[in-house]
């Protein structure tokens, strides 16, 4: 899947690849120490934050797990 910012897709691909490898080969085998993808994530995140600003995507005031609370049943 492409990134929301066209310029970030390559960075996303690199980060995803790193994360998936770490998740499958380390984390799921109980090796949770170390953060091999942190640098890649930072670069990708900065790119996305810039794209969000440029595209005027309304991210102010968003709440975790959705806008309306109290969805029971």
């Amino acid at each position: 899947m492409n990134s929301v910012g066209e310029a970030c897709t390559e960075l996303k691909r690199e980060y995803d690849q790193c994360f998936n490898r770490w998740f499958a080969e380390k984390f799921l085998k109980g090796e949770s120490a170390g953060d091999p993808c942190g640098q890649l994530f930072k670069r990708y995140q900065l790119c996305v934050q810039k794209a969000i600003k440029e595209k005027d995507i309304p991210i102010e005031g968003l709440e975790f797990m959705g806008p309306s609370k109290g969805k029971t049943e």
Partner: protein, 154 residues
Amino acid sequence: MPRWAERFFPANVAHSVYILEDSIVDPKNRTMTTFTWNINHARLMVVEERCVYQVNPENSNWTEVKREAWVSSSLFGVSRAVQEFGLARFKSNVTKSTKGFEYVLARMQGEAPSKTLVETAKEATEKAKETALAATEKAKDLASKAATKKKQYV
């Protein structure tokens, strides 16, 4: 955004709809929950979807998914029509997304969709229908709530 909805908005409005997804992986309860909703065009319509993936209680080799959706609109005068449109769209799209789901699973398992998967998909569709009905009720509820709110402003 549907064409008919464009006339409610200025001509220069962005046509893209941005979607946000939050997810929670709970290793203790062995569930994964995703919550997805649109973050722009929210005045026209907000569709929220929650999927809960969990181990089937009768067969621990199966994963079941419970999909729920809420459609709401605060567009003055036509909120009810917009909600019904959104709900109908959701219902027809659920079939497609279930097919996509099945396709990905079959690829991951390196085989054509097994009987189990087809059955699961059918079950999911049935569940989705039920949920969609529940969503209608919820939409009505939200619509009346929205109406109540408006009254307070007047």
